[in-house]
Symmetry: C2
DNA sequence: TTGTATGCGTTATCAA
DNA sequence: TTGATAACGCATACAA
């Protein structure tokens, strides 16, 4: 019995010799109804294999219990973890996740957001690549929006505290004697990357560290490709946009005979699981990604309950020191290449 | 103007001085309608900022254009890629992805499947951990189901050709002189793991290779933890369940002074991006994970169009040989530990 | 070509 | 405590 022959409320009512309202009440546990009727209706419903049409229910009831989420890239472990936390929290409150991937493309993300909004009661934008105008359109939609890793007015905000993060990183490096640091950047439209650069610059100034920057990306490929530029620089320590980039860079350095950390220290943001198993293991900033997702749902749940947006949730990262960072070497040796 | 003040079809009709059906037809591009009216209605609709309620539309029209997907673990890059391919293909055909994560738990997966089925027009189970009985219940749902990496009757099937995969791996190893191989397994309820074991055993027999097996898991942690057992074994080559396990194992071997591949060869399944950047780079079986998702959607699309299930799509992997495998050493040196 | 009226499956309002 | 009926927002068969 395919979709067509589906058992409806009225079928149960007929079989039970009663009305749809009674059946509805019996099944939904209303109080103003006799226990015998409830038992009878339940029995009949079971026998017929009745399953309520949840779509019709939600349509009638109003807001869909679905949370729309956009991520730039599903293959990035950072977002996987955020989705995990978000999904678990939302699910615990009876909500589902509708997920869209923008492919790092702002225009596509905007299409996605409008599409998702049509089927969701709330929206979460992970590391949104939306333009300022695009974001305004998103916020004008008739659903509450939380941004993860992007600060925005009139919306929920959950983000990593990059100010604290950058300070932890640079203080660790200066503690090891590094005075010249190179930052290998991330995706162009990334707020996180902009924020990392901004806070690194600021902190570098206050710590009297010389900070150079080059463009990069988000994957191991980008890190490997940055190898030659890194080597040509006069930096004794490198900070990469994330661990994937860091691991890619480590790989290039190894292939080209550069000792880490003896000749060059490498460190990065995020501390995804693989960071512990790279060679050498990567010093990285651990952040509670799953918690980002969880907090996003908390904010949404509050908002849906009629509350105002709370203050942004800022998550402080923890520096996990591993073997990829060590004392700065005395002299920068320039190699031909 | 929040959810309440939403502009409906009837509002547009009133403002345009016409009826709902005319507006509906004008907006949906029906043919039997005069161009002037269309223009007028469109103008009014724009002015009012009308956006059709897609939920109501789909409710009225019937099947939801949503694909429900379950994965054991969102943080596993294998599934991320599958989701990518599936999402892109489904989206190109106007469908969205409703995603649920089972946490490797068969009972949770069953709950998830029933929940997703309530809101989807089709289901994709990625590496389902469902019991036989659970799977039967899933297939009894009024939506078409495709299984990725699990063979099942009366459903769509898209899978990696593990028979070919295992043969590629073992032939590569025997070509290097290995006669004794150890397999570090995956998650308990995993069909993929069972299939890898089955095909490895069979191929090992035909190639006269001695195959030992130990239990493992799916993460780097599991691989690292398997280190001592691996070392105690008499194998000259190790095959791990996937690259994450492989990378974890490499890390342990390095920490304990075991040279790879001089003393031990390591290889695995999947070839996720990180495999190319591990130290040493991992010999692994590349499979087109995104294509798995894409093919799953193709099967569903056909089925939804009224066709029968096609034959299972089997994807042949390609062996990517890197530096983690080399000639078998002559003697197995047993170390104290 | 346009308008009226019905129904999708459910819940909620109102009488009985 | 129950039952008939009106919504929810839209699309469409049918009537005009």
């Amino acid at each position: 019995m395919a979709e067509r022959g589906r058992v409806r409320l009225i079928d149960v009512a007929r079989a039970a010799g009663t009305s749809v309202s009674t059946v509805s009440r019996a099944l939904n546990g209303s109080d103003r109804i006799s226990p015998q009727v409830v038992a009878h209706v339940r029995a009949v419903a079971d026998e017929l294999g009745y399953r309520a049409d949840r779509r019709a229910q939600e349509f009638k009831l109003g807001r869909p219990r679905t949370v729309g989420v956009t991520v730039p890239d599903l293959a990035n472990p950072f977002f996987s973890e955020v989705l995990k936390g978000l999904g678990a929290a939302a699910r615990a409150d009876g909500h589902r996740l509708l997920i869209g991937e923008s492919g790092e493309d702002p225009a596509e993300e905007l299409r996605l957001v409008e599409e998702l909004a049509d089927h969701s009661g709330a929206l979460v934008l992970c590391s949104s690549r939306l333009t300022r105008a695009g974001l305004d359109r998103a916020l004008a939609l008739p659903v509450p929006v939380v941004c993860i890793n992007r600060t925005v007015k009139n919306a929920g905000v959950v983000a990593i505290d990059y100010r604290a993060a950058s300070r932890l990183l640079l203080e660790h490096l200066t503690g090891l004697g590094h005075r010249r640091v190179l930052y290998v950047g991330g995706p162009a439209a990334s707020w996180s990357d902009a924020e990392r650069r901004r806070t690194l610059r600021r902190t570098a100034r206050s710590l009297d560290v010389t900070l150079d920057e080059i463009d990069g990306g988000w994957s191991g490929h980008h890190g490997y490709g940055a190898g030659p530029t890194v080597l040509r620089s006069r930096a004794t320590a490198v900070i990469t946009f994330n661990d994937l980039v860091g691991v890619g860079l480590l790989s290039w350095l190894h292939d080209n005979g550069v000792e880490v950390p003896a000749e060059l220290s490498v460190t990065s943001y995020d501390d995804i699981p693989i960071a512990a198993y790279s060679r050498p293991p990567l010093t990285s900033l651990r952040n509670e990604r799953a918690r980002l997702g969880e907090l996003a749902w908390r904010q949404l749940a509050g908002r849906l309950a009629g509350e105002e947006w709370p203050r942004p949730d800022l998550l402080a990262p923890v520096l996990v020191v591993r073997a990829s960072t060590g004392p700065a070497r005395r002299r920068v040796r320039i190699r031909a290449h």
